[in-house]
């Protein structure tokens, strides 16, 4: 599949079929995440794969931004202690967030290429998530990605035109582009 087809085809899915996600596909998503870039090569991420029905239900119930009954969720956490040790405060406070976001994007694009749908959720209760998944001190939940086979695919939302966001050489000097 062409990379642009994947990037432009991915949507945030909020309705899923009941079908389970095969374990080998889950492993591919995790492998894709593992190969994301990271500042200072910290690789601060840890992944909690949630497929147990009862635990998934609890995760859904403490996540107002979790829509649809997806059969799988991957919580991307950051190891703040390791990030601080290698990357200092910049690593701990900023890079971990960017790194986890890049891992999340790899998961989403790979999922789309495999015929799966995803939705990244940040609207979860941080404290409740740590309690339910028994997450240790120093490990912070960053992004929850829900995964399943799409039952409904939304239309693409409007994008701000490139000409409104791109400058040439200096801020404020427009780079005139042919609109894609």
């Amino acid at each position: 599949m062409d990379i642009f087809e994947v990037i432009k085809g991915r949507r945030s899915i909020r309705k899923y079929k009941l079908k389970q996600v095969e374990r080998e596909l889950t492993e591919k998503l995790l492998e894709a995440a593992r190969w994301a870039p990271s500042g200072s090569n910290i690789q601060p991420w840890l992944f909690i794969v949630v497929e147990d029905h009862e635990i998934l239900e609890m995760v859904r119930k403490i996540s107002p931004g979790y829509f649809g009954e997806a059969p799988l969720a991957i919580l991307i956490c950051s190891d703040k202690k390791r990030a601080h040790k290698i990357g200092g405060t910049l690593g701990r406070d900023y890079l971990t967030i960017a790194d986890c976001a890049m891992a999340a994007e790899n998961i989403q694009l790979t999922a789309y290429a495999l015929g799966l749908g995803t939705c990244v959720v940040k609207s979860f209760s941080h404290g409740a998530m740590k309690e339910i998944l028994e997450i240790s001190e120093g490990i912070e939940p960053e992004l929850l990605i829900i995964v399943g086979y799409p039952d409904s695919i939304p239309v693409p939302p409007r994008r701000i035109p490139l000409n409104d966001m791109v400058y040439l050489n200096k801020f404020g000097e427009r780079l005139q582009l042919k609109e894609a």
């Binding site: 239900e57 119930k61 403490i62 996540s63």
Partner: protein
């Protein structure tokens, strides 16, 4: 439908949990997410009769749920259309309120 939503009390707990987590998250989230969570809570509230057999289904609220579920995600794509949908929702409630008052008068 999940096993744990089988009783009204469990569904009430789930709704309360949704409100608690939403209430906390709204402190940090985009301002429009407050209205979004409230409308989503309304949608979830209208499901109550499915879990509490002593309550009867309300056709108006069922229609409201359909409307809200169709429109609520506009919050992420078109804030103006989301606001118009919220305005439309309030109008529908006002009309229904008038209709119920008129019906009550007739029945007295």
């Amino acid at each position: 439908m999940t096993d744990t939503k089988d009783t009204g009390n469990e569904y009430l707990f789930e709704l309360a949990l949704f409100l608690a987590t939403s209430g906390r998250n709204c402190i940090d989230e985009p301002p429009l997410y407050g209205p979004f969570r409230l409308l989503d809570a309304l949608s979830r509230l209208t499901d109550f009769p499915k879990h509490a057999p002593s309550l009867s289904e309300d056709p108006f609220l069922n229609e409201v749920k359909t409307f809200v579920d169709e429109k609520k995600f506009l919050v992420t794509t078109d804030a103006e259309a989301f606001k118009q949908a919220a305005d439309e929702l309030v109008k529908r409630f006002a009309k229904e309120l008038k209709r119920r008052y008129a019906q009550n008068k007739k029945e007295k």
